[in-house]
C-alpha cells in the first residue's frame, strides 16, 4: 500500500517536528506569558522584553564566567537580578506612562531595548558567548522511539509548563492575584482597602521581566548567547500575544505552544515561510476575532 507507506513516512517525518515545535513553543509561551502579565496589569506593551530575555542569558553567563556559579543557581539568581533591574526601570521610567496612550509605553520600551542591546554589544561583541548545559542534562540524547531528543530540551518543556501553570495559579487562584486583578479594574478602590497598589504594580513588572530572564537562562545552553538574541524573537512573540488575546494569561500560554507546533510543521513542508506563517495567522485571527483567540472583546 504505497499510500499508507507514504502516510507513515510523513508521520515519521512529522512527529519529531511536532516535539521540536513544542520546545520552541515553550519559549514563546514563557515570553508571551511575561508580556501578557505586564500588559494585563500595567497596560504597557513591553518592547524591552526581548532585551530582558537576552539579559537573563547574559547574566547566567556572567555568573558562570566571573563567579563560577553554575546553571541551577543561575536559574534562580539571574531572574532575580534582572527582575531587580526591572524594579529600577519601573520606578524611574515606566511608572510615568500609565495614564498615557499604549503607544508611548511601546516607544519608551523600544528605546530601552536599543540602549540595552547597544551596551551589551559594546561590551561583549556580536558573535555570541559559549554556555554549556548543566552536567545532569548533558550527555547522549534520549531515545523516544521515533527520534533522539536531548535531555535538556525535555527539561525546557517541563520547566516552561510548570512555570506557566504556576503563574496562572498565582494570578487566578490566590489572594495576591485577586488584588492584582482588582487593581487593574479599579486601582483607587483597591488602594482604599489598604493595598499598596504602586508597589504591587512595580513587583508585577519585575515578575514579568523575571519571567523573560528565566526564559533567557533556559535558552542560554541551546541558542547563541548574543546581544541580538532577543530582538530576533520579540516580533514573533508579539504576534503570539496578539493572537492569544492581549493580556490573557491562559491564551498566551496555549497560543505559544500552539504556534510553536504550527511553525514546526511549516519547517517541514514550506521551511522558507516558517517565520512568516505566524504573521499570516495573526492577520487572519485579527480580522476574524479582533480580541484574539482567548481575549475578551
Amino acid at each position: 500500500m504505497p499510500v499508507l507507506e507514504d502516510l507513515l513516512f510523513q508521520l515519521e517525518l512529522g512527529l519529531p517536528q511536532v516535539v521540536l515545535g513544542l520546545v520552541n513553543g515553550a519559549f514563546y509561551a514563557l515570553l508571551s506569558l511575561g508580556l501578557a502579565v505586564i500588559f494585563g496589569m500595567l497596560n504597557v506593551i513591553n518592547f524591552a522584553h526581548g532585551a530582558q530575555f537576552m539579559m537573563g542569558a547574559f547574566v547566567a553567563w556572567m555568573l558562570m564566567a566571573w563567579g563560577g556559579i553554575g546553571y541551577w543557581p543561575a536559574l534562580v539568581l539571574s531572574p532575580l537580578i534582572v527582575g531587580a533591574f526591572g524594579v529600577v526601570l519601573e520606578k524611574t521610567l515606566i511608572s510615568r506612562l500609565y495614564k498615557l496612550d499604549h503607544l508611548y509605553g511601546l516607544l519608551l520600551t523600544f528605546g530601552l531595548a536599543l540602549i540595552i542591546e547597544g551596551l551589551f554589544r559594546n561590551q561583549f561583541g556580536s558573535s555570541g558567548l559559549p554556555y554549556a548545559p548543566p552536567e545532569a542534562l548533558a550527555g547522549a540524547p534520549v531515545d523516544l522511539g521515533f527520534m533522539f531528543l536531548p535531555k535538556y530540551r525535555l527539561w525546557v518543556v517541563a520547566a516552561a509548563v510548570v512555570m506557566s501553570l504556576a503563574t496562572w495559579l498565582v494570578i487566578e487562584k490566590t489572594r495576591l492575584g485577586a488584588y492584582l486583578r482588582a487593581a487593574t479594574e479599579n486601582a483607587a478602590l483597591v488602594q482604599a482597602f489598604g493595598v499598596n497598589v504602586p508597589r504591587m504594580v512595580t513587583l508585577t513588572y519585575a515578575a514579568g521581566v523575571a519571567l523573560a530572564a528565566f526564559a533567557g537562562v533556559l535558552a542560554a545552553p541551546i541558542y547563541s548567547v548574543n546581544p541580538q538574541m532577543g530582538s530576533s524573537l520579540i516580533i514573533t512573540v508579539f504576534a503570539v500575544v496578539v493572537i492569544g488575546g492581549m493580556g490573557s494569561i491562559l491564551g498566551s500560554v496555549l497560543t505559544g505552544f500552539g504556534l510553536g507546533l504550527v511553525e514546526g510543521l511549516t519547517k517541514v513542508f514550506y521551511p522558507e515561510a516558517s517565520s512568516t506563517v505566524i504573521f499570516v495567522i495573526m492577520a487572519i485571527v485579527l480580522l476574524a476575532r479582533p480580541a484574539g483567540l482567548f481575549g475578551r472583546a
Binding site: 517525518l13 519529531p16 515545535g21 554589544r121 556580536s126 555570541g128 540524547p141 541551546i222 548574543n226 521551511p271
Partner: protein, 413 residues
C-alpha cells in the same frame, strides 16, 4: 604620520557641527602627498567581529609596516559604521570622496553595501579593496576596474570546502541553507563541486534569515543519512546551527558538519567544546606559518589580545600592497586616478605576511591559496586561539572562479 583616531573623530564632529566647513572646496584641503584611507564596515551589528574596529587597527598596522612615511607621504585613516544600511554606507562613501578627499575605501562587509560602494568608487574613480564581503559578483557581472576583491568569495569557499570534503570521504551531502542570495549561491556552487568530485547531494532545506531554532532542519538532515551536513548560512544563524548540532549529538554519531562560511571569531564564540570537528575554509589563519604568526604578534596589542581573522588580514594586506604601488607611482598619480593605482597593483606581484606571495587578476580578484581547516578538540588545543588544524590546501590555480565563468567585462576587452 598616522593621524590619531581621536583627532579624526574630533574633526568629523566639528565638521558636523559647523556645516560652513563645506564652503571650503575639498580639493584645497586635500594635499597631494596625503593619502586618505576610509575603513567602512560594521561596528555595531552582526559583522562587527569579522570586520569592525579590528579591521581599522590592521589598516593602521599596514600603514606603519609600509614605511611610506619615509617617502614623505602622509596617510590618514578614517573609520565609519555603515550600520548594515546600504543608504548609510553609500552616503558615507560619497561624502568621504566628495568632501573629505578620501582616496581608498576598505573592507565593507554585507553584499548590498559592498556592491553599492563599488559602483560609487567606480563613478568617482577612486580605489576600493573589499575584504569583508563575500559576493563573487564584485569580480563577476558587477566587476569594476577600481575594485580589488581581496580575501574570499562564495565561489572559493564552495570550491575548497565542497571539493576537498569529498576527497576526504564526505561524499553525500545535505544542505541547510539561509534563504537569500548568498546562501543560494553557496549551495549551488558547492553542489556543483561535490558532484564534480563524485559525491552526491541528498537534499536541502532553506530557512529564513535569523532563525533561532535549527533543530528541525538538523533532524531533516539527519533523516537523509547524509555523511556531510553543509551549512550555507552565516553569522548568528551558523552559530545557532552548530550549537544545536552539538546538542543533538550529530557530530558524535559520525556526521561531519561543513560550515561554508566561518571565521575564527565564530569558533572563539562557540568554544571548542561545541565547535570541535567542524570543517571550514579560510584564506588566512594566524598560526599557519612563521609570517602569519609574526603578523598576529604585531597587531595583538591593538586587537586587545584577540587574533586577527581573514577579513582583518585582507584589510592589512590590501592596504600594504596599495601603499607599495603608491610608493612606486607617487602619491599624486595614485590620487589622480583610482584605476591607475589599481592597475599598478595588478602589475606588481603581492607579498605580505598574511597571504604570502600572490597576484591580482584583471577582473580584480586577488589570488592566493584556500585552506580547509578542521576545528581542534579541546584536548588538542595548546593555548588561546589555537583552534584549527589544516586538512587540505587548494592551490592558487584551482581555488578561484576562472575568469571565463565570471562574466566580468574587464576580461573580454
Amino acid at each position: 604620520m598616522i593621524q590619531d583616531r581621536r583627532t579624526v573623530l574630533k574633526t568629523a564632529a566639528a565638521a558636523s557641527l559647523v556645516p560652513a566647513v563645506g564652503l571650503v572646496p575639498a580639493r584645497a584641503r586635500a594635499q597631494s602627498n596625503t593619502i586618505k584611507i576610509g575603513v567602512l564596515n560594521d561596528q555595531s551589528g552582526v559583522y562587527r567581529e569579522i570586520s569592525g574596529p579590528n579591521s581599522v587597527a590592521c589598516v593602521r598596522q599596514a600603514v606603519q609596516d609600509s614605511g611610506i612615511a619615509a617617502k614623505g607621504v602622509t596617510v590618514e585613516v578614517l573609520a565609519a559604521d555603515h550600520q548594515n544600511k546600504p543608504d548609510v554606507g553609500a552616503t558615507i562613501a560619497r561624502q568621504w570622496i566628495d568632501r573629505d578627499g578620501v582616496d581608498v575605501i576598505v573592507d565593507v562587509p554585507n553584499s548590498a553595501v559592498a556592491l553599492a560602494v563599488s559602483s560609487i568608487v567606480k563613478e568617482k574613480n577612486k580605489a576600493y579593496f573589499n575584504s569583508g564581503g563575500g559576493t563573487a559578483e564584485l569580480t563577476g557581472g558587477q566587476c569594476s576596474p577600481n575594485t580589488v576583491h581581496w580575501t574570499y568569495d562564495t565561489y572559493m569557499l564552495a570550491k575548497s570546502t565542497g571539493g576537498a570534503m569529498v576527497k576526504t570521504g564526505g561524499d553525500s551531502w545535505f544542505f541547510i541553507t539561509a534563504d537569500y542570495a548568498f546562501g543560494h549561491d553557496l549551495e549551488r556552487n558547492t553542489t556543483k563541486f561535490v558532484q564534480e568530485a563524485g559525491g552526491k547531494v541528498l537534499g536541502n532545506v532553506r530557512h529564513p534569515l535569523q532563525s533561532t531554532d535549527f533543530s528541525s532542519y538538523l533532524l531533516q538532515a539527519q533523516q537523509s543519512r547524509a555523511k556531510v551536513i553543509g551549512l550555507a548560512n552565516a553569522g548568528t544563524d551558523t552559530i545557532n546551527s552548530v550549537k544545536q548540532a552539538a546538542e543533538f549529538g550529530i557530530t558524535r554519531r559520525g556526521t561531519k558538519i561543513a560550515v561554508l562560511l566561518m571565521f575564527i571569531s565564530d569558533v572563539h564564540a562557540l568554544g571548542l567544546n561545541t565547535a570541535q570537528g567542524l570543517v571550514c575554509t579560510e584564506s588566512y589563519y594566524w598560526d599557519l606559518n612563521d609570517r602569519t604568526r609574526a603578523f598576529a604578534e604585531r597587531v595583538k596589542g591593538a586587537l586587545n589580545g584577540a587574533r586577527p581573522g581573514m577579513g582583518h588580514a585582507g584589510c592589512y594586506a590590501s592596504v600594504l600592497h596599495y601603499l607599495k604601488a603608491v610608493g612606486d607611482m607617487g602619491a599624486a598619480a595614485a590620487k589622480a586616478s583610482g584605476v591607475e593605482a589599481v592597475n599598478r597593483m595588478k602589475a606588481m606581484p603581492t607579498d605580505d605576511d598574511c597571504f604570502g606571495q600572490g597576484t591580482i587578476r584583471a577582473d580584480g580578484r586577488k589570488l592566493h591559496p584556500a585552506y580547509l581547516f578542521e576545528v581542534k578538540a579541546p584536548g588538542e588545543s595548546k593555548g588561546a586561539w589555537d583552534y584549527y588544524k589544516l586538512l587540505q590546501t587548494t592551490s592558487v590555480d584551482n581555488a578561484w572562479r576562472p575568469t571565463s565563468e565570471g562574466g566580468c567585462s574587464l576580461v573580454r576587452t
